[in-house]
């Protein structure tokens, strides 16, 4: 699914040059669940942004489903992204002005799914994350765990091949955190590839493989199964 080699990303300000990714290479196979760990500033988020086609690398190669996408333009990236990738953020990033249902519905609108089909799919996925009863509530009326379940529902409603999760349990207590991890595991078992950035060893243990990063490079890889 993903193959990156010698990926480089450097952030420059007027005075400082920060190397975020330094000739990073690894591979993620179809159906894998990979956790990326490392201290703050090691390049995890940059990596996730590039994997999510939100940002492009300065050098190196990025094969997504055997297609070189490292230098795709904005439109091609957006197109590839909305059909193939779902995101889960630490801070949920739900839109306050929209209800649970409408939040989850958004990706389907942007991929041009018809109304009736949208309704069916949103209800399906809300059912799956057990938040159906809150479909007409607004994000601020929900608990953190419920909000993240909505975010997960939104990430998967389009049946993406890849889910990128950025510390999905970072803002949750352990009960709610476990629920979300359970949800991700189920999705993975159903065939979705997951790359998750986390600080939590506990969460990382849900994955198949842990990639540990430092200063923009892979330090070790632990294979858990």
């Amino acid at each position: 699914m993903i193959k990156i080699s010698d990926l480089e990303k450097v952030y420059r300000t007027e005075e400082v040059e920060t190397v975020a990714l330094n000739k990073l290479s690894f591979e993620v196979k179809d159906g894998e669940f990979v956790a990326v760990m490392g201290p703050s500033g090691c390049g995890k988020s940059t990596l996730l942004n590039i994997l999510g086609l939100l940002d492009d690398p300065d050098a190196g190669s990025f094969l997504f489903n055997q297609i070189e996408v490292a230098h795709f333009n904005e439109r091609k990236r957006a197109d590839l992204r909305k059909h193939n990738i779902g995101f889960v953020f630490q801070s949920f990033n739900l839109i306050d002005e929209l209800t649970v249902f409408e939040n989850v519905e958004l990706p389907l609108i942007y991929t041009g799914v018809k109304t009736a089909e949208r309704k069916k799919r949103v209800e399906e996925v809300l059912d799956k994350v057990q938040i159906m009863h809150r479909r007409n509530h607004y994000p601020q009326q929900l608990s953190g765990g419920q909000q993240q379940r909505v975010a997960v529902a939104r990430a998967v409603v389009n049946h993406p091949k890849l889910i990128l999760a950025d510390e999905p349990t970072g803002n949750l207590d352990s009960n709610n955190g476990n629920e979300v991890m359970q949800l991700l595991t189920e999705l993975n078992e159903q065939g979705t590839t997951i790359v998750m950035v986390t600080h939590s060893e506990h969460d990382a243990r849900y994955s198949h493989r842990i990639i540990r990063m430092l200063d923009g490079q892979t330090v070790t890889e632990n294979i858990l199964i």
Partner: protein
């Protein structure tokens, strides 16, 4: 404390430069417009106020009832003034004057046409004028003339004009007896010279016993506190005692109403310039208000940014009053900066504005009234603009704000939307009004005038012109440049002779039809390109002296079935020989005036020539100059193009059109500024949302639609309010004109769509940046 307020206010304004620039620009434009309009309004409102007897001066006017159609007439009989002064104790002085007239004044070979009035004795007792040389006694000598400074300078340069001799119209010789200051802009009387009536002149002498011929203006100075109702009754009684005049009732019209309320309709004083004074005063306030609304909207929209500051200040012990003062300080500083810029703008713009409104307005910064007005504008603007933001921003609960549990700005959305909608309503109203005014003018200009004003040249007649008319005509026609020549008692663009309809068999009893009269030579219809509907034009044969032509409006008003061949008793008996199409000679906004035309082959007021088509106007003028200089040597050559004279009938309407046009463009510009500011704040607030949506696959277009939708909704609401409002207002305005357009509904559709597009452009320009920003950035702002 105030220093601290100013410091903080200044820094805040400096930090949010976009906000500051939008507000200062908007307020500057608003205040500039307001000052310009106020200068104009002040000039209009102070007409004639420099007259010492302002409150006691009246003009004597008559309402003449022609079969229930009342015609208000300022023309009076010559002896009326004297009779009033002698017989009525309420009248201190009465004076009679001619209409303003143009005479050829000559000093040696320096001949210039100058305008002025012949007046009776007490003119300078009633009207105050500043004498530079000589005094009011100058009027005592019938062979004297009083000049204005400019006129004196034109003839004598810097030499002393007193006792110098001027020749009037190449005949009478008069002595300069006094020099007065030029009449100010806002004076009803505008003149280069004043001369006393010469009662020794046989014509004038005869008129002194003539109570029917009414060709003069009569003014009175009443005693203070005069009973005008009684005066009206007494004047009417005196007039009637000098002969049958039952259809007229006389009344005194106060000086304070001469300029602003000059219109009469069916005997009722209906208004006049005052309507435009009111209209533009309202527009001035509205434009300033739009700028204030920008300030309110932008201040509350960015309240989130200020909320934390308010919280901290309150925690540190500031009370609400202090915070309110601080926010007022900000609006005051902004307004003050805008005011200074506006004054600069006014100084720069005044020359062109004066040119447009045809006045000599100036900023009198030495006058205390200027500073009082200026101070009021600044304070009022600062207060109106700053009021709502100050009260709102200072109301935040510090605990909630600092905890971040308050979502500030939410409460202000509805008021903000109402304010934006009102801005749009004003914009739509002003654009539609501009278009309607323009359409009305264009519609009237395109009206069939009944003749062809293009390629017609008029030259005022003189005794020499009349004497040599035949040879002038021959030479002009022989040149191949002029295709036709005629002469008339008055220009084709004016009616100088108002009269009742002639008597004829079958004329219904009690019919009083007001008609215009015109004396013409042969070739009238041919030269003017007037269509003859029946019969023929004057032929130049002796029978012309008993022939009469009527226009279609006259035939209709007199209810004639077969006018040609009918006998008309009008002094003597005339036979109707022809009926012409209607010619629009008076206001083009009114129905055609009924006209009768009689033949005069020996004297005239105006010679009119038609230039052969295809001949350049300049070539024709050169020829005319040569010919007229030869046969009319004593008068400087001057000419007028009929089409240009005709255009002058639109001066007021075109001025109104231009002013509304300019002010609506400015109002819309200020609205757009505010809109741009609001859009950028909205986007700032929704930055994260935009990022999230992008991550989820939203395209740039979809984001533009999302943000614009909010504003477009407001435009639609504004449109629903503005369209009927405009329709109602403009329909009322159009009812001032008899000849008018009907307002088409498509106009509103066009304006509505234009407004939507404009909004879309303004919002898109602001949205596009956020929409194409990499969402990584917006999500990192968390």
């Amino acid at each position: 404390m105030f220093r601290n307020y100013f410091k903080i206010a200044w820094r805040n304004l400096w930090r949010s430069k976009g906000f500051t620039v939008i507000n200062i620009l908007g307020l500057t434009i608003g205040i500039t417009c307001t000052i310009l309009i106020l200068l104009w309004v002040q000039n209009e409102l102070t007409y004639d106020k420099f007259q010492k007897n302002y409150n006691n001066i009246y003009q004597v006017i008559a309402n003449r009832d022609f079969n229930n159609q009342v015609f208000t007439d300022r023309n009076m009989a010559l002896p009326l003034a004297d009779a009033l002064e002698k017989n009525l104790s309420q009248i201190k002085h009465a004076v009679v004057t001619t209409h303003r007239q143009q005479n050829l004044l000559a000093y040696n070979n320096n001949k210039i046409k100058k305008e002025g009035y012949y007046v009776s004795d007490h003119f300078f007792d009633i009207f105050s004028w500043h004498f530079v040389k000589g005094n009011a006694a100058a009027l005592k000598d019938p062979n004297s003339i009083i000049l204005t400074e400019d006129a004196a300078k034109a003839f004598f340069g810097d030499a002393d004009p007193i006792n110098k001799l001027l020749t009037i119209d190449n005949s009478q010789s008069v002595k300069v007896a006094a020099v007065v200051k030029q009449a100010p802009d806002n004076s009803t009387f505008q003149f280069d010279w004043i001369m006393p009536f010469n009662y020794n002149d046989p014509g004038t002498k005869a008129s002194m016993n003539e109570w029917v011929n009414s060709s003069w203006n009569v003014f009175i100075q009443a005693v203070p506190g005069a009973d005008t109702a009684l005066l009206n009754k007494d004047i009417t009684k005196i007039k009637r005692s000098h002969g049958h005049d039952e259809i007229s009732s006389y009344f005194v019209f106060p000086m304070s109403r001469w300029h602003l309320y000059s219109d009469f309709e069916n005997g009722k004083n209906t208004g006049g310039m005052i309507e435009y004074v009111r209209l533009f005063s309202i527009i001035a306030v509205i434009i300033l208000l739009i700028a204030c609304i920008n300030f309110m909207n932008l201040s509350t929209a960015r309240s989130e940014k200020r909320a934390k500051e308010v919280g901290i200040r309150k925690t540190l012990g500031s009370n609400r009053k202090q915070l309110i003062s601080q926010f007022y300080c900000e609006s005051f500083i902004l307004t003050l900066i805008a005011f200074v810029l506006a004054i600069i703008a006014v100084v720069l713009l005044l020359p062109s504005f004066n040119l447009m409104v045809d006045k000599h307005l100036s900023l009198n910064i030495m006058q205390p009234s200027f500073w009082i007005t200026a101070f009021s504008i600044v304070l009022l603007t600062a207060f109106v603009a700053g009021n709502y933001p100050a009260l709102y921003l200072s109301s935040f609960n510090p605990v909630k704000v600092l905890k971040g549990t308050i979502i500030s700005g939410k409460k202000t959305i509805l008021p903000r939307h109402i304010l934006v909608v009102s801005q749009f309503v004003i914009s739509i109203l002003l654009i539609s009004a501009t278009i309607i005014v323009y359409q009305q003018i264009q519609h009237t200009k395109d009206r069939d005038m009944g003749y062809n004003p293009n390629g017609l040249v008029m030259i005022p007649s003189t005794p020499d012109v009349d004497k040599n008319f035949t040879v002038i005509k021959q030479q002009l026609l022989a040149s191949g440049i002029i295709s036709s020549v005629t002469r008339t008692s008055s220009p084709i663009t004016e009616v100088w002779w108002n009269t009742g309809a002639p008597d004829y068999d079958g004329k219904p009893a009690n019919t009083n039809i007001i008609m215009g009269g015109l004396a013409t030579d042969v070739d009238f219809a041919k030269t003017m390109n007037v269509k003859l509907l029946q019969g023929h034009d004057f032929t130049g044969t002796p029978s012309d002296s008993t022939s009469m032509m009527l226009n279609k409006a006259a035939v209709d008003a007199m209810k004639l079935k077969n006018p040609v061949g009918m006998q008309m008793r009008y002094g003597k008996t005339y036979t109707v020989i022809g009926v012409t199409d209607n010619v629009i000679m008076t206001s083009p906004f009114e129905p055609a005036y009924p006209m009768l035309m009689v033949y005069d082959g020996s004297s005239s007021g105006m010679a009119t020539m038609r230039i052969k088509s295809g001949v350049p106007a300049q070539k024709a003028i050169t020829l005319l100059e040569v010919v007229f200089k030869k046969y009319n040597p004593s008068v400087p050559f001057e000419y007028q193009f009929v089409d240009q004279e005709f255009q002058k009938k639109f001066i007021t309407e075109e001025l109104i059109g231009k002013l509304t046009n300019i002010f609506s463009v400015l109002a819309i510009f200020i609205c757009c500024l505010g809109l741009a500011g609001l859009a950028s704040f909205t986007i700032e607030k929704r930055f994260r949302e935009i990022g999230v949506r992008k991550v989820l696959g939203a395209s740039v277009q979809q984001l533009l639609v999302l943000i614009s939708k909010e504003f477009l909704k407001l435009v639609v609401i504004a449109f629903i309010i503005a369209a009927p409002l405009t329709y109602w207002l403009m329909n009322n305005w159009l009812h001032n004109y008899n000849y008018r357009i009907t307002i088409h509904l498509w106009l509103f559709a066009v304006v509505g769509v234009a407004m939507l597009i404009l909004t879309l452009i303004v919002v898109s320009l602001n949205t596009i940046k956020a929409a194409i920003t990499n969402p990584v950035k917006s999500l990192r702002t968390e």
